[in-house]
Amino acid sequence: MADQTERAFQKQFGVTGCFKSKEKKAPGKSGHRFYKQIGLGFKTPKEAIEGHYIDKKCPFTGNVSIRGRILTGYVKSTKMNRTIIVRRDYLHFVKKYGRYEKRHRNISAHISPCFRVREGDSVVIGQCRPLSKTVRFNVLRVTPSGSSAKKGFSSF
């Protein structure tokens, strides 16, 4: 099994492989996978339902609920383990000069193994409970961009 990389046995909370229950064919291969709808019109990806990864912080197969704010941004960095940095650009109005200035914010968001992201992709993230010191968001949907990764300002 590819997903047992830790020293403790990785499994989904509430799912035991050994119950002699009726054979449910629904979740792809050999059943017994927990997944849920997160609401707000977001579709659960097929990879979450049929995959074999174990991620307790995944919004679809783990123990987090999405509530609060839903934001969009684009992916700045994917170097962390199962988390990404999302950059959100915005314009701030300066009253004295009647002009705008560019500002940006970085948000750390947890990304489930069911998504494949590259830098520059546009991403929708939803607020959840604190998952680590800086992570309070979870990736809900990925819109792959073109080829170039724009590190500069891009408002949309």
């Binding site: 403790a8 046995f9 492989g17 050994c18 119950f19 010191k133």
Partner: protein, 208 residues
């Protein structure tokens, strides 16, 4: 109180230090860890916590309520040995009971239940599985019928069967002894059991 759970001592996300601008508060307090040991003189202390509620800090325990998931039976059993801990080998050496530690528990209450339920003796000395014929079942006709039906649906994992012959089952602790004062858990089965057995063998072969 010395142990506090605040974040004021940590650096910011940018890396900058935070200045102490207030004292440590009581609602941020932490307490000394329990480090529940496996021992026959059982000791559980009561702690008054925020809101007036109580936590039961188990300091020494020797029994727990363990359930056999696939058969849906739970029995109070003696804990015999701490065998594996994914976080820290030190906890195995000092026989500390914590959540998600792998322990060995006494198999006799489960054997007795199995005997009563299926009329099959587990872990018997002869290798062949003894499945008694319907005529040998003691009891009324109703009992005989029930046991016959159960024997048809009966499935026993081979790894589990081996463990019954030694009289010790591998179990995983799923309660938090330092919080609730109990050391309850579930018998390991299936993929989980294989996983941990492999881990323990690797450890033994490395130590040898």
């Amino acid at each position: 109180m010395g142990i506090s759970r605040d974040s004021l001592h940590k650096r910011r996300a940018t890396g900058g230090r935070k200045k102490h601008w207030r004292k440590k508060k009581k609602y941020e307090m932490g307490r000394v860890p329990a480090n529940t040991k496996l021992s026959t003189n059982v000791a559980v202390r009561t702690v008054r916590v925020r809101g007036g509620h109580t936590k039961f800090r188990a300091l020494r325990l020797d029994t727990g309520n363990y359930s056999w998931g696939s058969e849906a039976v739970t029995r109070k059993v003696r804990i015999l040995d701490v065998v594996y801990n994914a976080s820290n080998n030190e906890l195995v050496r000092t026989q500390t009971l914590v959540k998600n530690a792998i322990v060995q528990v006494d198999a006799t209450p489960f054997k007795q239940w199995y005997q009563k339920h299926y009329n099959v003796e587990l872990g018997a000395k002869n290798q062949a599985e003894i499945v008694p014929k319907p005529e040998e079942i003691k009891g009324s006709n109703h009992v005989k019928r029930k046991i016959k039906e159960r024997l048809q649906k009966r499935k026993l994992d081979s790894h589990l069967a081996e463990q019954f012959s030694t009289g010790r089952l591998f179990a995983c602790i799923s309660s938090r002894p330092g919080q609730c004062g109990r050391c309850d858990g579930y018998i390991l089965e299936g993929k989980e059991l294989e996983f941990y057995v492999k881990k323990m063998q690797k450890k033994k072969s490395k130590a040898a």
